[in-house]
Symmetry: C2
Subunit: 302 residues, 2 copies
């Protein structure tokens, strides 16, 4: 677990990190979190705590329904429990949402009213900022952009459905396509196959930049899928700023031309030239700054 | 052009209709609109006028950029011009947006905070209500739900792109599929072909309800496409109420089971059982009541 003490204007004043005692259960995790917060606060007066959690969250009640990284949390009321322990307001949200909020506050989306952010990691997460605030939806689960359908007959997605954008443009999707292009499966033998199996989105992107046609084909497919999904987001929301974060966004130079081709072909009633496609600017700090912004909203009564 | 005088709680007190003098140019249209409003107002005190226009609108400035039905309107500042003529506030919005606002105010979506509405007509329009208000987006063009991508390699859409939901689940899409299923083209000859060419979405739906396998296949394809698009809307927005209006929604009994199959298979992190799929309740009055609600917001300072 990573934390920071953040000034009201967004400067990070102190950082700390503690390992998550997952095996010791919810009480131990609460204790570790409280310790991390106290350690960061030191003798300063802290207004509020913002907490980002990968997984399903009730923002209103501060409850984590489930989190892939902390399997012992089931309907864990971490917000109220940590608030009681610290004597401070504690705000909880999904980490991809806070990533979007952070990039909107101080990163790639600074100054725009509305943005859509997708984090291209192992999966694809997302967050939607409308009129400067996170859009949560009826059950707090808005922004699951990775499961926008690109092609109902497309490849299998981690969610069990087919043809979600995550199945193409996540690291997982890119590795799948790379192995397919090279006719390699996890059980393939030989030095060439082992090299393919060791490749990462970064090494595949490097090959594409050197002109490797299979690597170019992989990023063309991923970029096209991302463009189709982005077109669907923009047709519904008419948001002019799209931010891509996560490791795969390091290949945005390869992806963006394909995204643009789809937007030019598909956007109806919207001017594709007005759409800004940006790489997330804050890296690993986006989530921390988003959590700070969340806390700041509460701390200042906003 | 249709108009109504509407009481603050939504009762329609008077109706009127006037033909649009398209050939006589913008000034004649303005005159006809002003006459319609004066006729409706009679001796009553009217607070404001709401105007729904098919086409691209700047809600903020009351300008119609273009309207398919009124080709002489280019960047027409109909809001300010009508306001000056009547001495009343005039609010302008796209007709599909007002359809959504009307259904939210007094129709199928009454009482819910958030909804997505799609009108399944010749094309597919849409509107999004978030926290009780229309979501307009950065350029006022949000809610173009007909161009959500269902399959990038799918049939040609009226917008020039391929595989938009409009190419499947609009009246146009259903007639295209029906002719394809029957191997009939507009130039086919013979009584059987003429019968197919005369069919409408209503008559095809009636055939499907009697068990005609080709008609069932047409609605299965349309329903599946609608389900894929709906899944993408809900993953992004987490809105639990989806309303379908327009003529093709008369076949919602045939479409909904397929929509449900896709939602069950595709929604990730959302509970498909909580999603309400509703037929629009206000018919042709939805747009008029939405326009009244828009005017009411201004009239009451909201």
């Amino acid at each position: 677990m990573r934390g920071a003490r953040v000034a009201p204007h967004g400067r990070i004043l102190a950082r700390a990190r503690v390992s998550t005692p997952v095996a010791d259960g919810p009480d131990a995790i609460l204790g570790a979190l409280a310790g991390l917060c106290r350690n960061l606060a030191g003798r300063t007066r802290v207004a509020a705590v913002g907490l980002g959690v990968p997984g399903a969250v009730s923002q209103r009640r501060g409850v984590v329904f489930s989190s892939p990284n902390i399997p012992c949390w089931h309907d864990e009321p971490i917000g109220p429990r940590l608030a009681r322990r610290l004597g401070l307001p504690v705000l909880v949200d999904n980490d991809a949402n806070l990533h979007a909020l952070g990039e909107h506050w101080l990163g790639a989306g600074k100054g725009v009213p509305n943005l859509v952010l997708a984090t291209l990691g192992t999966g694809i997460g997302g967050g939607i900022v409308l009129r400067g605030r996170l859009w949560h939806g009826d059950a707090g689960r808005a922004g699951e952009l990775g499961h926008t359908v690109v092609d109902p007959d497309g490849p299998l997605c981690g969610c069990g459905a087919t043809g979600c954008v995550e199945a193409y443009a996540s690291a997982t999707g890119i590795l799948r396509a790379w192995r397919f292009e090279n006719r390699v499966t996890p059980s393939s033998r030989g030095a060439a196959a082992r090299r393919i199996l060791r490749d990462t989105p970064e090494t595949i992107a490097a090959r594409a930049r050197r002109g490797d046609p299979r690597a170019l084909a992989v990023f063309a497919e991923a970029g096209r899928a991302l463009g189709v999904a982005t077109a669907s987001w923009l047709q519904a929301l008419d948001v002019h700023t799209v931010v891509f974060g996560g490791g795969v966004a390091g290949a945005l130079d390869l992806l963006e031309p394909l995204v643009r081709i789809e937007l030019d072909a598909r956007l109806f009633g919207l001017d594709a030239r007005r759409i800004r496609i940006l790489r997330a600017a804050l890296g690993d700090d986006a989530g921390i700054l988003g959590a700070a912004k969340l806390a700041l909203g509460k701390g200042s009564g906003g």
